[in-house]
Subunit: 463 residues, 2 copies
Amino acid sequence: MFRGGAVLRKVRQFIMQHNLISPGELVVVGVSGGPDSVALLHLLHLLGKEEGFSIHAAHLNHGLRPEAEEEEVFVRELAKSLGLGCTVDRAKVREEARAGRRSVEEAGRQARYAFFIRVAEELKADKVATAHHMGDQAETVLMHLLRGSGLKGLGGMSPRRGILIRPFLTVTRTDIMSYLEENRLDYCLDASNYDWDYLRNRIRHQLIPLLEKEYNPNIVASLCQLATVARDEDMVLEEMAVKAFKEIARPDQGGLVLNLETMQVLPVAVQRRVILLALKQLGGEQGWEMKDVQSVLELAQKAGSDKHICVGKNIWANKSYGRIIVRVGREKTRPFRYFLEIPGKTYIEEIRAELVCYLRKREDVWPSWDSVCLDWDKLKKPLEVRSRRPGDRFRPLGLGGTKKLQDFLVDCKVPVEQRDRVGILACEDEIYWVIGYRLDERAVIDDTTKRVLVVEIRKKQTH
Amino acid sequence: MFRGGAVLRKVRQFIMQHNLISPGELVVVGVSGGPDSVALLHLLHLLGKEEGFSIHAAHLNHGLRPEAEEEEVFVRELAKSLGLGCTVDRAKVREEARAGRRSVEEAGRQARYAFFIRVAEELKADKVATAHHMGDQAETVLMHLLRGSGLKGLGGMSPRRGILIRPFLTVTRTDIMSYLEENRLDYCLDASNYDWDYLRNRIRHQLIPLLEKEYNPNIVASLCQLATVARDEDMVLEEMAVKAFKEIARPDQGGLVLNLETMQVLPVAVQRRVILLALKQLGGEQGWEMKDVQSVLELAQKAGSDKHICVGKNIWANKSYGRIIVRVGREKTRPFRYFLEIPGKTYIEEIRAELVCYLRKREDVWPSWDSVCLDWDKLKKPLEVRSRRPGDRFRPLGLGGTKKLQDFLVDCKVPVEQRDRVGILACEDEIYWVIGYRLDERAVIDDTTKRVLVVEIRKKQTH
């Protein structure tokens, strides 16, 4: 009969509650040799015998401190004494940190997780267990809180994420120390110190003790409870947001187009999360702050159109006619001008379309959905397709007069950043066709027409 | 042209964003004479002239400190200098605290709000404004966090709650001080000190400065942003929970009965909130902690039935056949015994029913849905209706043998706390009818029956 039964019961219940390990599985346990991971290895080994799962130890020698060699030997011996397999590797953390321009702590963390996952893959193991406990969780919650986190950060570490499990998130540092004592287990002091970055270190040794002494002796448990609740509530809201995102956002115009009408009937909390999903999809997971989301939200709520903001990370958002368009980079279009091949094909990169032109006699022309007809003899030559120019005017068919092209495009609700990509079939300043929008009265075929210029538009698919 | 335009713009935008004041309204401003409330009065006065709303000052003299008289005079003069109406009253806060067994700070707070609301009612005012700013908000969030709050607490103070508005939740203490300076406004030092309870005081003077210096110089803004997000997210979840509560909970058995089948398909985060709503409905708004909710949730998740727990505040929860019954007090039923009036009516308090008994000849009896018939000549006398006793057995009709009453009730899924309230028609130990459940074989009428005892049950409606 071993000791520390209370801790074991707690962990067993936690494992069941969160479905962390099933019978028959193989669990790789990350062991630094410090108290937490030694207790975890020992406890999971015992529990595995009862519940029918297997354990394998994994130790990464960071080579950072003189004691690293001793620690490696210690972990090997510990695994051996429990009759467990053990995989050990060495990392060049300092070099990796320098190469990746990260802190040594961050590089160490990444190397460690990569190693554990690698061992799990090699052994075809089902889970990787780490020894994070309630104290670590409280620190994580405070770190996020101090950095200005939303609900997601307050959720702290999850008991399970993919194959990664944290069976000790239910026990305190004190629980672990008494488990070690009752089972007379040795451990290496400071072996897990590489897990402390500077901020975490100060939170652990300064802030939490202060909060415990002066504000709430149970602050660790309170923060862990907050984490549990926040994680569960976050999950509900995230599910709502993902569902809403699918309705609101569609990929278009080289980015994401959010339909404001659909979005703005939702609670503002869900709108924020939809915007965050859009930012993540375009700009990556990490580093978005509430102020970024807020700036897009404010853009959405502002009256008027055609406002642009840079959200950060070269992500631009633009409000335009009931939509928010989020894209990487602010769209810039250079002026363009192509002379048309007649007969022939002219590909126009800026409008992503090929214009196929040919001449026909009036009597040989039949209306078609993908072509337009112009009166060849009324047109000045040479014909070109170009982007708009300041002062452009034309005589939109059906209007009975001239109109500024600018005003016409506004009336057609062409987003401002799209206007420079509208193709104009013209000869110099005489516009015959605003491609995709309207013919000019002067180019239209009538009873006097003899020869017809047929222009077919072939849109190139964008992927 | 007055100064401090940036602060005014910020507050104006905040008022519009949260729809705090509409043109034509009258706003009572609580003024202690301290910097925050002096700035608020001045700023709202200016804004009111622009936006068309009116201001009235209200000051409660707490009579706690020697300066109280000076402060009262100061506020009167300030209001007068701005051409504003001003209502002043005096409170006996120390006496009220003693009588209500509250801290002086808490009694002061309550007296103040009650006074402001009273003034608003007398003047038929539309709003009551207080001068809580971002610093106060950050303190509130930290207080809740340190006490172990969920999402609701992290939401801090709302910009608007009923007629109460807080237009300064968008500005910092520094904003306020520069506003005062730029407008050359005097104020009383420490006039709002009565608003500091001990914990808030320490958070303000110890914890926030430490967090600002060592962890995050923008901690106040971060916590305020968290509050905004948490409040909005809380609102979404609360709406879901209230909707779910209506489906899951119904008042019954002197408490609330929660349908577990309906509840357990919901996300655990919503389940927690449904439980909290139940606890609040029975035990009042204040003082519920996550551990109380958690204990009910664990009860719901446990296998088996008939478990009781005391949640706190004399609220008991009981799991029973796919339901959680939450009620005030643990139900205790004393044994009961009534002799039946035959013919006549016998009211049995414990089963909340009246039994109407009469005798008929066999041929005069017709089956009826609200009565049972027993063979009068087979029954021992005198007949009684009593609660169950240990060792009770009977011969349930259709079973063809004897059965323990206890087992029978279990088979019928009668909740354990209901079993002592089942009425048994018997003569001493010979049971003829488990009222509402089953007749005994020995009491059933057959071909030999001559006289029939008819018993009608008249349930008393419970309200």
